[in-house]
């Protein structure tokens, strides 16, 4: 039973791992803690499936404080950042949030990020990026090399002094509204605002990584546990639960959202990822734009697709996708879907075969299982 062995090794606290301000709460509330991107993080509390379903039917709280939070300031910051990310940031309104990729010269993906345009007291405004924990050091160095060393703009890493809590699910806005004392549902999807709360000023963004409505809160490190426990106490009787990285992964997979290190990496061109909405090439030059323009006009070799499997056996990362006995692609994420009740997967397949409805086979450790290419996302919340 290998999965258990892995757990046993990782449950011993490793002092070299970073911890979030909620670590003590996780440890004292039954979390199974595992190393993740240099942090010791809760993978689950009572159970992954129960936490997953709580998010779909009520709401779930996720500690996402491990994600990097970087502020960029300076008079030139808008033009500067526009030269480094795939999404246009020039002209973003205060409070706007955009999903973007950061690419290298060859169009490989260095990270996928959320970009926030936020007002500042001096009126000049700033940009904040939320980046993957596993890529934070790499991105900081990369941005510094490209002028965020003070020569063009200043970079402030806020990861340590803040915590980030995602509240996701059909009851998320209601619970957060009761706690805040004001209603964040006036925020449009993918916008953010600084506002008052029982712990003082915080950032509320109507964003998430689960396919549900909800918010992500950025609070001072010292307030994190109070925010977490008060939100949980408000929602507990309505089924709101703390959820770990395990449920976060199955939720984002159902929502068809890519995960860095699986669907996105430096080797795979961003042009293949099915994220064209986030790659804006018209009248723009940014690092990677030349390569991405070439890939788009030539038609890239591969395409990210969703797979729905016929049986009960889940495909996992690394399984081959086979058509007529020929390997035509590879699975990058796969899991049983707790919401749908059958296995789902994402992967890359030759673009000429990336057709909705195509029947393929997936090779799961030596045996072939039927699967079909289906539209992403696998799950769409009611009314969306």
């Amino acid at each position: 039973m290998a999965a258990w062995e892995e757990t046993r090794v990782s449950s011993a606290s490793d002092e070299s791992l970073k911890t979030t301000p909620l670590h003590a709460w996780h440890a004292s509330h039954g979390a199974r803690l595992v190393p993740f991107a240099g942090w010791e993080m809760p993978v689950q509390y009572a159970g992954l499936v129960e936490e997953h379903l709580a998010c779909r039917t009520a709401a779930a709280l996720f500690d996402v404080s491990h994600m990097g939070r970087l502020d960029f300031v300076g008079g030139d910051v808008e033009t500067w950042l526009d030269g480094l990310v795939t999404r246009r940031v020039v002209g973003m309104a205060d409070g706007a949030v955009r999903y973007s990729l950061v690419c290298d010269e060859s169009g490989g993906v260095l990270d996928d990020v959320l970009i926030y345009r936020l007002p500042t007291e001096d009126g000049r405004g700033q940009f904040s990026l939320v980046v993957n924990a596993s890529n934070r050091d790499k991105l900081v160095a990369w941005f510094q090399r490209h002028g965020a060393d003070g020569s063009r703009v200043g970079l402030l890493d806020r990861t340590w002094e803040t915590a980030m809590i995602a509240v996701q699910g059909p009851l998320a806005l209601q619970v957060v509204s009761e706690w805040l004392g004001w209603d964040p549902s006036s925020l449009r999807y993918y916008t953010a605002v600084r506002g008052d709360s029982p712990v003082g000023s915080l950032l509320v963004g109507r964003t998430g990584y689960t396919g549900e409505d909800g918010v992500e809160l950025v609070v001072n490190r010292a307030s994190a546990e109070r925010v977490w426990t008060e939100l949980l106490a408000l929602g507990e009787s309505r089924g709101v639960k703390a959820a770990g990285l395990g449920a976060r992964d199955t939720l984002r997979l159902e929502a068809g959202m890519p995960l860095y290190g699986h669907e996105l990496n430096e080797q795979q061109s961003a042009a293949d990822a099915g994220l064209d909405f986030a790659i804006q090439l018209k009248d723009r030059e940014f690092v990677g734009s030349t390569a991405l323009r070439a890939a788009r006009s030539a038609g890239s070799g591969q395409r990210r697709v969703g797979l729905s499997l016929a049986g009960k056996r889940p495909a996992r990362e690394g399984c081959s996708i086979v058509v007529e006995d020929r390997v035509v692609g590879i699975v990058t994420s796969g899991s049983p879907s707790p919401t749908l009740g059958h296995p789902i997967a994402m992967g890359y397949i030759e673009s000429s075969l990336a057709t909705i409805g195509l029947e393929v086979e997936v090779d799961i450790r030596g045996s072939r299982h039927g699967a079909q290419i289906v539209e992403l996302p696998f799950y769409r919340r009611p009314g969306k």
Binding site: M1, A2, W4, E6, R8, S11, P314
Partner: protein
């Protein structure tokens, strides 16, 4: 079946030995402790009837939402029966790990591997230490 009468592998499989004429048949399953850690079994890849198996070798797989885990055969011998009901109802393994959730029966070719298995008390101690 009574877990107090079973033997356990360090890798969390249980074994119940039954005398059948001159030979011994081991019924094999996965411990309660391990299925709780797995948090919901969604698929079991069973060994094949007639397959020769060696103690310590992988002879099946258990899939949970989170991960796939190998099933290691705790004894030497030949697979004589598998629990076909796990194909349609993998949750039996979580719901009744020491009864309806059994995995396979293996006719022993030798007793040699039995000496390496733990009794319930020793196995519980191992699980307690790794908590």
């Amino acid at each position: 079946m009574d877990p107090q009468q079973m033997l356990f592998a360090e890798t969390h499989e249980w074994v119940a030995i039954e005398e059948q004429g001159d030979s011994k048949v081991a019924t094999i399953g996965v411990s309660q402790f391990a299925v709780e850690q797995l948090d919901g079994v969604v698929y079991v890849e069973l060994p094949r009837v007639g397959e020769q198996v060696a103690a310590g070798a992988s002879f099946g797989e258990v899939e949970s939402v989170k991960a796939v885990s190998n099933l290691y055969c705790p004894v030497d011998g030949e697979v004589v029966e598998v629990n076909e009901s796990l194909k349609d109802s993998p949750a039996l393994m979580s719901d009744d790990p020491y009864g309806q959730g059994w995995v396979a029966k293996v006719k022993l070719s030798s007793d040699a591997a039995l000496g390496k298995l733990l009794d319930k008390a020793a196995y519980d101690k191992q699980c307690g230490e790794s908590q």
